[in-house]
Symmetry: D3
Subunit: 271 residues, 6 copies
């Protein structure tokens, strides 16, 4: 017996990106039409039930068109690493503004916003913090994600547009370095978290860390229960191999001291 999908039209931005590519096939069953978008036409090309609308997020008119007829958005678009300010500015600041303006004009009611753990990357790895801890971004990328969290708060208080800000950890097929033992978010857990964020009955505006059930954690993430998320995976089974194959970190290395890891010494790039 088949049930009807959760949404009529669901928009996935950044669909050609690394995590967008992970989510794309997994979101397909959740909507009658999955609108996928990135700067360029997608490859592989659209499947049945998909429609592809290439779009530059910095182009206000294009974003307005992109959002027409959409029930909800999973916003993975934009830059997801430290970069030159001007690039971040266009993608993550202008782009996010364009998205929310379009949501307002078209009456879109919910956004899942890919924020980042780098909004708090300057906390130490020996601290456990909650999502409402004062922000300590570790670079311009992190600052741009702060902007998205604040802007979406405004659109909720002013217009009632609900947003779940997911401060995504490190979401890869496998654990790649020691820091990821704490920050790992499996692709399945990411998918489940996005689903919770889209379907929880009433989310208002909230901020949640996206992280699997790792043995060592830096984030007190109890609010995730409000969304109904329960992690299924963990970095732990990958620990032994990882530790055998990577050198001991230098305890004086800022990348080993702060939660942001290598990001804390990366920026700012000179334009």
């Amino acid at each position: 017996m088949s049930s009807s999908p959760l949404f009529h039209r669901l928009l996935l931005t950044g669909a050609q990106g690394r995590l967008g590519g992970v989510l794309r096939p997994r979101l397909r069953d959740w909507a009658t039409v999955l609108r996928v978008s990135d700067r360029v036409p997608l490859s592989p090309a659209v499947h049945e039930g998909e429609e592809d609308l290439p779009c530059d997020l910095a182009d206000r008119a294009a974003v307005l068109a992109l959002m027409e007829g959409v029930d909800a958005v999973v916003h993975m678009g934009g830059i997801s690493r430290e970069d030159r300010f001007d690039a971040i500015l266009q993608s993550n600041i202008v782009g996010v503004f364009n998205l929310y303006e379009a949501a307002r004009k078209h009456g879109v009611r919910r956004v899942v916003f890919a924020s980042s753990n780098h909004v708090t990357g300057f906390y130490r790895q020996d601290e456990t913090i909650r999502p409402d801890a004062a922000r300590r971004p570790d670079g311009l990328y992190g600052v741009s994600k702060c902007f998205g969290e604040d802007l979406s708060r405004y659109y909720f208080d002013r217009f009632g547009i609900e947003t779940v800000c997911l401060r995504i950890g490190a979401s890869f097929p496998e654990v790649r370095d020691r820091r990821m033992l704490a920050t790992y978010l499996s692709h399945d857990d990411l998918t489940q978290l996005v689903r919770c964020a889209l379907t929880a009955p009433r989310v208002g505006h909230c901020v949640i860390y996206g992280v699997s059930g790792n043995k060592h954690v830096w984030w007190d993430n109890r609010q995730a229960a409000h969304l109904g998320f329960v992690a299924k995976d963990s970095s732990e089974p990958m620990r032994a191999t990882l530790e055998a194959n990577t050198p001991e970190p230098d305890p004086q290395d800022p990348a080993a001291i702060y939660q942001g890891g290598g990001f804390v010494v990366m920026g700012p790039f000179d334009d």
Copy 2:
């Protein structure tokens, strides 16, 4: 007996603006050279002890030149009201980034950053909040000030540049409406607060509301004591006249419900 000024060269941006114009003559004695700057050459023209460097904050190279040789900055520049996004973007986002990049390159150690109470304008007037309450900006202007607070936190954590973020209330010669009975900051108190922020021995990165000793307050501002600020003025003596000359607010009016007053229904302006 004369003492030497506090700084060799102090920079005041936005010197032609409303509050910049208030501060300009009051800062003159604090430095051997007061560098004043706005988009256009200042009028009245420079006095002895001043130097005028007109500068568009969105022009990275110009801001770099502006900051050369400066000991500390009082950053009043940028837009200080709700406006179109593109204007705010250039002045308050690009401009602030340019300022901190220039501070980093020239080794400037302290900035007094004019933030705004509009970063928390969507709290209700019957709530008392602290500076570390989660932000609830009431417009794009407020969101841009959030950006400045986060960016300056990054430059402190990464490079040790100290910033005092002053969430300035309503600083006018007199109380102009009922909301200002709570948010009033006299020009003398503003001056004193800027002086404390410039001279307190160690400020790290901190956030303080700028408000006089008004009878009704919305902000628990005890951290101001860390800077040594003690308000001297109050809105109270102006209450009777103000209330006699202004109508009762409509209790259903959002401008009377939220701390941001009229700002909460102002934006966003269509570009």
Copy 3:
């Protein structure tokens, strides 16, 4: 091998009520004598090991007699829905006072008091609260349960009578509406919670939400661990059917905005 029951004489009030009827057979093994009571003689009639003492809670002398010889009380009696003030006054205010006075006079040491989530029903569904959050009752019924919590606190501070206030969610055989996906408390979990509250070694005066391990929760209920409670059931398996058979809630409907659901617009009834 059989062990002796937990209590000699255990009193269950409201035994003819909906939840009282659920608990009655489940409590039978915990005491040598289960005293059951409601306004009217119980039907089905008493089993072996039970004794039936009908009693109007508003009748002080009757309640005093009811409590004689009792080791502990599970107080499910009184009104458990919004109602006219005068009815609530007699059952939930006068009645609870009578109960604690009788406990004091007879030296009863512990009460499990059926409070209600409606003492905090005016929080929003997108907020997660703890049991010590300021109360926000959603009706006269909720206010009466606040009274019971405060009165029992007094009897603990003054006379050492221990009380566990259980803010019971929605305890039905199955989930009946969308709100219950968050507030559902299975009959088995209710039973287990009552047992924990009766037998935990030292409870003082405490307040706990009574809720199963539902996927979406509104209440941070960690203190329940102090009592040793671990939920076994969840509303989640009933979600799909429920959502298929009920319309989408109107997001502007107060019953969909506040935790109290329909209660928030129900009262006060005109007497």
Copy 4:
């Protein structure tokens, strides 16, 4: 030059009581008509600008008539000491319900509710508490004041009726015992606090301790600043005489241990 009074018709209940009698002449100038009320016709009889409406608070119809045409209420009525439950029930529970129902029916927008420090009387004298500390009433009187605070919260959340709950300390012409050195509220400070509570622009529902600027305090009362209250008096000048004329308290005496003083061992009275 004369200004118009603050209210057209202001109601003072309990006007014949101890504190009602203190407030009566002081409130007279704040309204065109001061409606005064107690169980019996007032003596001294009404002055110009007063109207006397005797009323039993437990009489719903009488209270409804009492509240007609009223702009705001200072509710000093009811019992203000430990008493038999049935008396407290009628005055402080039924009576307060009647008051708020009448406020709702007549559209009265603000109430100043005389709560009491006895809602937290079971805290120790060596603790400093805030108004949002969990309640620990020290008697049935205190429990009844909890009821009034919760009920008024409901009428605010449901109908927007604003209430300032004043947890009045010990308001007498002079300090009468050692406990009052901490709890003293001068008649002038009481008057000023009532005025603040009536006139602060937006109070929502809030709870404030009513206490002068005594040297030793038990209550962290910063929220009073939101109302604009600044104490003018203090118990300190009366200390020497008081201490010379009263014996050292027995440190084992509960009245010397708990904030509620003698109240903590007073009740409950047997009916």
Copy 5:
């Protein structure tokens, strides 16, 4: 396939003590060399992979020698019960100072310090506390453990030596009394906790309660997740037998009121 051990040389103090004896064989595989130490030569004598260095902790020079060449320390040494002050002074105050001085001189980077739940034993059993609650030691033994926690904090802030303070509950093969139903820490869970404390990537200075997953708990121990600890055992299966074989506690007995149990009335011993 065998992996290399976690440490080259790991030191276990108090190896002849009750818990030291439990840990000794379990730590053997974690290091190439397990240095074991107590006041007297160990029996049973050393195994392969062990070296035995008897040492009086109060002997500074001996402790200095003991710590040479050590990578990490599990400090179970000292007195672990209430005792005369002079004995505690030498073992738990002078001894701990000697240990940290030696760690500093030899560059040892991490210590697992056996603190005790008795640093907070004067909280009541009906309270749930977090590790950062103000200390309330229940005897001189508890005070000496406070000293160790503070001293190790200093050595972290000053010299970067990391310490995990484990406030160990009651770690025995089986539950021996009713208090242990709450405080029980199985030997396996103790072992696992020590392993987490030794190997978690970055612990800074932290304080964790050591307790199994018991049904009734007094300690909110979420920070343990930062170390990656998950309890595997529980006191619950031993409850029935225990309760059948021990009398009901007297509710007026301080040992039944306070978390410290019998310790709260034990000291101070007269010297």
Copy 6:
């Protein structure tokens, strides 16, 4: 008219020390007999109303004799600077234990204990902390004062002996360095604080920073109001001269970064 003194016999330890010498003449009027004590006989010799009992705090029997017949103690004795561990051990650990044991044996009910701001000296100068912040001592001296605070807490919980722990700032006739602008406690304010601590009706066990009303403060000291303390002096009038005569601190100097100033790099002294 003369009133009787506050105490019959008041003990001042450390009476020959720097602050003991300040307090000695000021305490004389508060007691019929002021017992003064230090390691050596005092000079100047005793005045009328004084009695001199030289005593080594590490000598248990001598301390027991010292405390006989005493109503209250101002414990200024012991070492008040960083020192070798063995010296601190005898004076500040053994000595304090001896003092409390003697208090217990003789029924002394209140102690004013000279603790120190160095129990939290490893917080940064740009942080504002409360007395209940986790301790971060800046040396062995600070650790020893932590010990005194914990030990006195135990004697309160166990035996009801009240203690006010005064974390004294820098109490000198004048401000001597830039750090003292924040930590200055005038001799008059010290005196007043000691008086409050001795005479406040019920202090339980509490911790207060001892600091004048300086313009820049690091400590949120509101609990001092519970004792009735109001600072009369401030470091501010001495600022200009001080700043003119001392060099700018090096911002990288730990003494300028941490609240403990030079203490943070002083210890531990090699024995």
